[in-house]
Symmetry: C2
Subunit: 234 residues, 2 copies
């Protein structure tokens, strides 16, 4: 009897997406700093894949602005400048308040449960003072809003924006943990629970502006390239 490997969906790109997601997560929880070099051999060894798949993963990451490819030099974690930061926050302020309002209007019990559980996780992480987890969950809250809206395109867009925001905070964050005040997330959830679209929208916008105000573009860039061993597969 021959056991045949089945692709549940006809689409290719199985392992590449795992690599991309892993690097996404690492950037989101700031274990991968801007400008860190991601050599092909590193990816190959870390994930146990051939060079081809490593290159495809890096190309995908580059197409999403998470990684920068330089000719004959390799791939580096992106290091956004102030203009990049302005664009990202401008885009988020165009999208997220409106999206949050829509979620407040249309969310169902299942979506509310998902958001509530997420907020609880954030609280737990805060109590445990688990910084990486706090940062990761804080970003993922915004992606979860899009997920709950059941719009695949916006979910993907927001994942990209949030990841880039993580890089921006790594570059220009003022250090104060105020950017992670989860009570703002909680208040947004309360507005959604109350089906108050206007308030949810306003709170979302204010929240983004608070994050934006915590940035400091005056001082020179933080550049401390870290090791990539954290990426190593389970």
């Amino acid at each position: 009897m021959v056991v045949q490997k089945i692709h549940e969906d006809g689409s290719s790109l199985g392992e590449e997406h795992k690599i991309v997601d892993r690097i996404y997560s690492a950037v989101m929880q700031q274990t991968l700093a801007p400008m860190t070099k991601l050599s092909e051999s590193t990816i190959c060894e870390s994930f146990g894949v051939g060079r081809m798949k490593a290159r495809r993963a890096l190309l995908l990451l580059a197409s999403q602005g998470i990684v920068e490819l330089r000719s004959n030099r390799g791939a580096f974690v992106a290091s956004p400048n102030q203009k990049d930061a302005d664009e990202v926050f401008e885009a988020r302020i165009h999208i997220e308040p409106s999206l949050t309002a829509q979620v407040a209007e249309r969310i169902d019990a299942q979506g509310l449960k998902a958001l509530t559980e997420h907020i609880n996780k954030e609280k737990t992480a805060h109590l445990a003072e688990n910084r990486q987890e706090i940062i990761r969950l804080s970003g993922e809250f915004h992606v979860l809003i899009a997920t709950v809206s059941e719009n695949g395109f916006l979910t993907r867009t927001l994942r990209e924006l949030v990841t880039r925001t993580s890089l921006i905070v790594a570059m220009f964050g003022s250090g104060k943990p105020s950017c992670c005040r989860d009570d703002e997330h909680e208040k947004i959830l309360e507005a959604i629970e109350a089906r108050d679209a206007g308030r949810a929208s306003d709170l979302a916008k204010e929240h983004l502006e608070h994050i934006r105000l915590d940035l400091d573009f005056t001082k020179s860039h933080k550049t401390e390239p870290d090791l990539v061993s954290l990426l190593r597969a389970d």
Copy 2:
């Protein structure tokens, strides 16, 4: 004497982007229909590149939802379904009215000139009854709004949304040319010229809703659905 090829910027991906842009344009002016197969050899011959670059271009197109990759079967121009269409229009209605309002507030003389010239091109194409040009320019107007806002991220996002919209219209368009009424574009431009952000936003939203209403999801897909491949057990 040796002439050395210089890369003006350090980023790789020179020719791949040309291929991607060409296919983008072809989809936008509906020269490339949904479900059309894009074999590697076709790309190689059409653009005079090696298989590697063809594959990279197809991967980039797939990461943007313009092309669908199927394992061992190749790349096909995407064929959005109704859910995809809903997501795209939902996203556009979240983004474009807000973006158009911002443009109305902040546009400068140079931006106004660009928009005005574009509208003139649209009028010329209409008088010449050049259908492909009409369709292409009609879509590009929306991208131009983002370009004028000088937000690279949103420009890229809108280019993707507009291209997908073109595929959606190819699949579900009711055939009537009302979707191409450029007078709506002209009215949006007038609102922008008048610095009337509220009206510009409303007109942009109405315009998108008009396009949306011209779709007909009841009849079967225009492009003959390949039932054989749909029934194939995976």
